[in-house]
């Protein structure tokens, strides 16, 4: 067909044929340039988004991909930029999922803390790190007997928050009221 031959000839010259009456000049390098600029803008946006998620989710959310290899600085082709964009989309998605599951974990931890406050007798010696409820620091909530052995016998339980981060010279061996080492009953779930 004449139109096919004409179309091929125009394409080789950097022009495409829209119809036999109308021709549209297309500058292929300029088009590629625009595509590269668009991909770079997308990469920049994704990078900022990923940085925001990682910074907000620190230390529970990481933006690093385990399999990434070291590389050399170079001019990237359209295909390579697309690949980077796609990997970043995946990493942003993974980081968002991680943030979501962390938020759910903290919500469940806060619910547990509420129950420990309301009914400490049901959660004897249960320990809940303050970090698990989204609080800063090294404090740990623990249900303990009031007045030691007396409280244990009388059923007087209370929720206490430990004083904070361990001292520089390391932790002290703690001994439970009965003489053995303190029970380290984990609470019902753990952050992976």
């Amino acid at each position: 067909m004449l139109s096919d031959v004409l179309s091929d000839a125009l394409r080789r010259q950097g022009r495409i044929m829209v119809s036999t009456e109308q021709q549209l000049d297309v500058d292929y390098p300029a088009g590629e340039r625009a595509a590269i600029d668009s991909l770079r803008a997308q990469i920049a946006k994704l990078e900022r988004e990923l940085s925001g998620i990682v910074a907000a989710g620190f230390p529970h959310v990481s933006g690093a991909a385990v399999s990434e290899r070291r590389s050399s600085p170079r001019l990237l082709s359209l295909g390579e930029l697309e690949e980077i964009r796609d990997r970043l989309v995946q990493r942003v998605h993974n980081a968002q999922c991680r943030t979501g599951s962390r938020a759910e974990f903290e919500r469940r931890s806060r619910a547990l803390l509420e129950r420990m406050k309301l009914e400490p007798g049901r959660y004897k010696f249960v320990r809940l790190p303050a970090a698990d409820v989204g609080e800063a620091g090294c404090g740990v909530y623990q249900v303990r007997p009031r007045l030691g052995i007396v409280g244990m016998l009388a059923g007087w339980w209370e929720l206490k928050l430990s004083s904070g981060c361990p001292l520089g010279w390391g932790p002290r061996a703690s001994v439970a009221p009965g003489g053995g080492f303190k029970s380290e009953r984990a609470h019902a779930f753990a952050w992976p």
């Binding site: 920049a44 925001g52 620190f58 690093a64 991909a65 600085p73 170079r74």
Partner: protein, 222 residues
């Protein structure tokens, strides 16, 4: 080049076309007696490092990626095929080392001066031996097998790598350490400083980084 002034290096056309916002900014110290870079840093420089150490905590090391200038370098890293979570940007690497070492550790005048400029302005600066350079510096693409530096034992580069080069050789891969032949050492008399300005980094910060290095080196030389 003026004593405390900065100049702009050249960019190969293909690099300029790909990254219109990329600038190589240069400064040079006046000649000083040989050996002036050896020995410990002046007390003022060490004191400044200590003061800066106190300003950086673990959380800030993560938050730094959200600041405008470090974020601009992270984006540029992505644009040139580097992953800033694998090959860290200079500021993030310095802050991470500060956390590992417990402070910004003094490792000699030149190292300390470059580190101070980096931490103060977020702009990385590299130092070369000005007497080892052949003409002004610029950014271009490497040729296949081209040596980094000169001499028989210089490592070969792959084609198309972004390098900082003078008229006769590639002196450093972009954001990498300079070749041993061109790097400033204790024998260096004149230091050529260069910084990379990428899109999103104000020129003022780049010039301040170079000015900071230049001024501190000039004081030390006196």
């Amino acid at each position: 080049m003026a004593a405390a002034g900065v100049a702009e290096g050249w960019c190969a056309p293909e690099v300029r076309e790909a990254f219109p916002g990329l600038r190589l900014v240069l400064a040079e110290t006046p000649p000083a007696p040989a050996g002036w870079l050896s020995g410990a840093s002046p007390a003022g420089v060490r004191e400044r490092l200590r003061a800066l150490s106190d300003r950086w905590s673990g959380a800030q090391a993560v938050m730094v990626r959200r600041q405008a200038i470090p974020a601009a370098y992270r984006v540029f890293f992505r644009h040139i095929g580097l992953d800033p979570d694998v090959q860290r940007t200079p500021l993030e690497r310095a802050v991470l080392e500060r956390l590992m070492d417990g402070g910004f550790v003094s490792r000699g005048l030149l190292h300390d001066v470059l580190l101070l400029a980096l931490v103060d302005t977020s702009v990385p600066v590299w130092a070369l031996d000005a007497d080892a350079l052949d003409g002004p510096l610029g950014v271009r693409l490497s040729q296949e097998g081209e040596p980094l530096g000169q001499g028989g034992d210089a490592p070969g580069l792959a084609a198309g790598q972004l390098v900082v080069a003078d008229a006769s050789a590639a002196v450093a891969v972009l954001f990498g350490e300079p070749s041993p032949m061109h790097a400033a050492t204790t024998r260096t008399r004149r230091v050529a400083l260069f910084a990379l300005q990428v899109e999103g980094v104000p020129a003022m910060h780049v010039e301040e980084a170079l000015w900071s290095c230049h001024t501190r080196l000039e004081w030390a030389a006196q």
